[in-house]
């Protein structure tokens, strides 16, 4: 019985919980409430994933209005996988949040902070669950507005400019998306994704449709931080509170990748894919190399990871550019794996920020010996980022390179491997500073981070190792999802 309402509950529960959280007093209570909500969400998301894993589809009619008139929530393997990532990261981040938030957010803002996290969660989950493009836009705005707020709550004053920058760029992106949706609505008179797919087929040559497509792709590319529309991302990740860096880095861009896949492959489908393929491949190639090089020269660990994120997103974009079964599988697998590695890395950096009070690399000297668990977490997650065998990152790289080889694209094969080598350099930069520089004498003794920060970090680190050896969840579900996307190219 409840199974039918799963898809809706996943959105409604955090939506109702958010205002309740805002009213709870103190520090512990809002945290505890948010924590339980995220765990319930994780439970529901895993349940949902287990239902659709075999390739079946859940269709839920909101308010009993039949689609295409009413809003339909339509869950297949891809939605469920991304929803699971979002819910899982939220559920792992929240235990981490308590101590970190105590240190970074003043008490009178705490309950509002948690409410904003829940709203962000609502937005991200809603985007993933819905089968209606306008509904998707609404949820995108919910998640964006709440993330502007969350970023602005960073301790440094520069968080405000970072949030403002993101606000402007994000609003432009959302507006573009809305214009695009408006154009195709004007052409077809429907907002339901599947219905759009049917109705767009005969009029695919219309200029309005092309214009709408262009607006939509550029709009999403802004949210995706697709190179060269990535400028908002480094500041946003660097200056936001540690918890928010973790949460956004591991979820927000992943959801944007989902929107892109949905729009390009489900709504517009095959005939326009060709248009994006070249763009994705070219931007992907440049986007892997240039941000990786920028990452090498960063002096702030969070900013370094932010640039690395842009490069990693470009891998996913490359997979989309191939528009083949292998390529899209690689994209989805990397969406999952990258959430794990970046989540773990930002958590570990957050643990250092908790102890040292800064994420500048110069303050990391010699911390490897004083914070061995945090250091090992950075090392293992970093190896995963590089793509060393035995880690989740290796699996992503494996599929991506296979996809490139399948197309006989030697250039892209080379670019992917070069990206890994550049990752070696920037990961090793952190490792070397932490492990080999002596501790400056002015610094007082630093202790290992508290367990409440370490345990969530190590949950993600272990996941990095686990999914390097067992790919039943990632690769199989991604394969099912790609099959349901209806990609016909090999």
């Amino acid at each position: 019985m409840i199974e039918q309402h799963l898809s809706l509950l996943l959105v409604v529960i955090p939506l109702i919980a958010a205002p309740v959280t805002a009213m709870l007093p103190g520090r512990r209570l809002p945290w505890l409430f948010t924590l339980s909500v995220t765990w319930v969400c994780l439970l529901l998301a895993s349940w949902q994933l287990s239902v659709v894993m075999n390739g079946s589809v859940i269709s839920y009619e909101l308010g009993g209005w039949a689609p295409p008139w009413g809003i339909e929530y339509r869950i297949d393997a891809m939605n469920a996988l991304v929803a699971f990532i979002v819910a899982a990261i939220a559920a792992v981040t929240l235990p981490y949040a308590l101590r970190s938030v105590e240190k970074e957010i003043p008490e009178y803002q705490t309950s509002l902070f948690y409410a904003a996290i829940l709203l962000c969660l609502v937005g991200l989950l809603g985007i993933v669950q819905t089968g209606d493009v306008f509904n998707l836009f609404v949820f995108l705005e919910i998640s964006s507005l709440s993330s502007y707020v969350l970023i602005a709550m960073g301790k440094q004053r520069r968080a405000l400019t970072a949030a403002y920058q993101y606000l402007i760029m994000g609003t432009i992106g959302a507006t573009f998306l809305l214009i695009g949706i408006g154009l195709i609505y004007a052409e077809t008179g429907t907002l339901n994704m599947l219905d759009l797919n049917q109705r767009l087929q005969p009029i695919m040559e219309h200029r309005t449709v092309h214009t709408g497509f262009a607006f939509i792709v550029v709009g999403i590319a802004l949210k995706l931080a697709l190179f060269p529309l990535h400028l908002w991302l480094p500041n946003a990740y660097t200056y936001s509170p540690s918890v928010i860096s973790v949460f956004l880095a591991a979820t927000a861009t992943k959801v944007a990748v989902y929107i892109m896949l949905r729009m390009v492959f489900t709504v517009f489908s095959s005939s326009l894919v060709v248009l994006t393929s070249y763009m994705f491949l070219v931007l992907g190639i440049v986007g892997v190399i240039l941000p990786s090089i920028s990452a090498i020269f960063q002096t702030d660990a969070k900013r370094l990871l932010a640039y690395s994120s842009i490069a990693q997103i470009s891998y996913m974009v490359l997979g989309m550019g191939f528009a083949s079964v292998l390529g899209l599988t690689a994209t989805l697998v990397h969406v999952f794996n990258h959430a794990l590695m970046k989540g773990a890395l930002f958590m570990a950096i957050g643990a250092i920020v908790y102890r040292v009070g800064s994420s500048r690399l110069e303050n990391f000297q010699g911390l490897g010996r004083q914070m061995p668990w945090t250091f090992s977490a950075i090392l293992i997650a970093g190896l995963s980022l590089i793509g060393i065998p035995g880690t989740a990152g290796f699996i992503s790289k494996w599929y991506l390179v296979l996809a490139a080889l399948e197309q006989q694209s030697w250039l892209i094969t080379g670019v992917i491997l070069l990206g890994s080598l550049l990752a070696v350099i920037y990961v090793w930069k952190i490792v070397e500073i932490m492990f080999f520089r002596p501790v400056p004498e002015t610094v007082i003794e630093v202790r290992e981070a508290p367990a409440s920060l370490l345990i969530p970090t190590w949950v993600l680190v272990s996941a990095n190792l686990f999914f390097g050896f067992n790919t039943e969840l990632t690769v199989d579900v991604a394969g099912t999802a790609v099959r349901l996307l209806g990609v016909t190219a090999p």
Partner: protein, 488 residues
Amino acid sequence: MTEAQVLLLVLGLPFIGAVGIVLTRHRPNLREAVTLITASAVCALVLMIYGQFQAGTPFAVDIAEPLPGLLIRFEIEPLGMLFALVAGSLWLITSIYAIGYMRGHHEVNQTSFYAMFAIAIGSTLGAAFAGNLLTLFLCYEILTISTYPLVAHAGTAEARRGARTYIGILLATSIGLQLLAILITYAITGTLDFREGGILADKLDPAWAGLLLALYIFGIGKAAVMPFHRWLPAAMVAPTPVSALLHAVAVVKAGVFTVLKVTIYIFGTDFITQSGANDWIIWFAGATILLASLIAMRQDNLKMRLAYSTVSQLSYIVLGALLATNMSLLGGALHITMHAFAKITLFFAAGAILVAANKTLISDMGGLGRAMPITFGAFLVASLSIIGLPPFGGMWSKWYLGMGAVETGQWLLLTVLMISSLLNIAYLLPIPIRGFFGKTRDGTHYHHITEAPKSCLLAMALTSLACLLLFFYPDPFYQLALSAAGGQ
């Protein structure tokens, strides 16, 4: 216990040992006991496995299936057994040596040293027993990463720089070239299993075989074929036991072992010779043999000279693999053993000289042999074995390598081998000669210098004795190498 459990046990023991070492970090004696017990147990288990393996028992175990159809799988075959015997027995001897060295030299952070050492050996055994190329690659990378802290052990700016070169070259070649080669292989054949006769024949256009083989040879940076050899001299900043076991035995041999595996089980010798894949790449190995020997002659630092000597000797094995005849493969596989025992003795001696006399430069070692006769005696024995003179084990591998060159009519390569032997004489023998008969620079006599700690001497004595024994009884290794090379 079943065979699979025995195999898992021997692979897991070093890692368990590493945990034990960390747990006993506050009590050095207990910690060293853990190292010795683990090393003895591993050595005993490897010997036991060898006994059963020779009796015909198959050993195989599947761990996981990370990619559809691609397993993490361990399976013992003759070449891996040979490599495991060498690594397993030498770990025990090196552990004995290391305790004397590390204490005599008052090294810091000894716990992390012993722990990482155990992990490195664990991954070496994993590489030896790997049942397919994916597993081998996995262990290869763990080995790279676990040896990095050992190279950087001293923590000085020089050590950091050396370690950076070390990990940079090894990771760059393995990710940039080797992984690419593995992926191409998989994309073409759909498998990464080791099979008799290779998996690429009939599937790969012979015109491309040379290029793919080059990706493998250069991608396996641990084999130190020029121009990707710089990491090995750079790694000499490590403590001497590390240089001895890891950079004369485990790490570098893991490289050439991978080369042998790839040529025998991925390409297949027939495919290599028929497609002419080895046509030009073999000259890189030949050039490395000569150039590295020439560079070795110019090194005054003893460890650097030995490092370049290793670079040169490794290419013997690569050459054996690339000639791809039964004889040359037999010689290459045997050379893994022969060179291991001889080179580790040389490094032991270098470390003993450092601990006892605090000297690293060869030009300072005049007359030192009279004060440290055992050390320099062992050095002499090992030098003769490296050169390939009877009655030392090194003769056999050179013999078969030479036979391989003759068999294929590669007279030029045979000349390379001969010249290299002469060069070996020129850069190795002056050291003991200077030690025994030379004079000190300033005419002082070494009254205050005595031999190195006893555990160091014991280790050196054992390995140099092995060099001698391997001449008369090469049989266990010979049989393994022969069946790996596809002989009887």
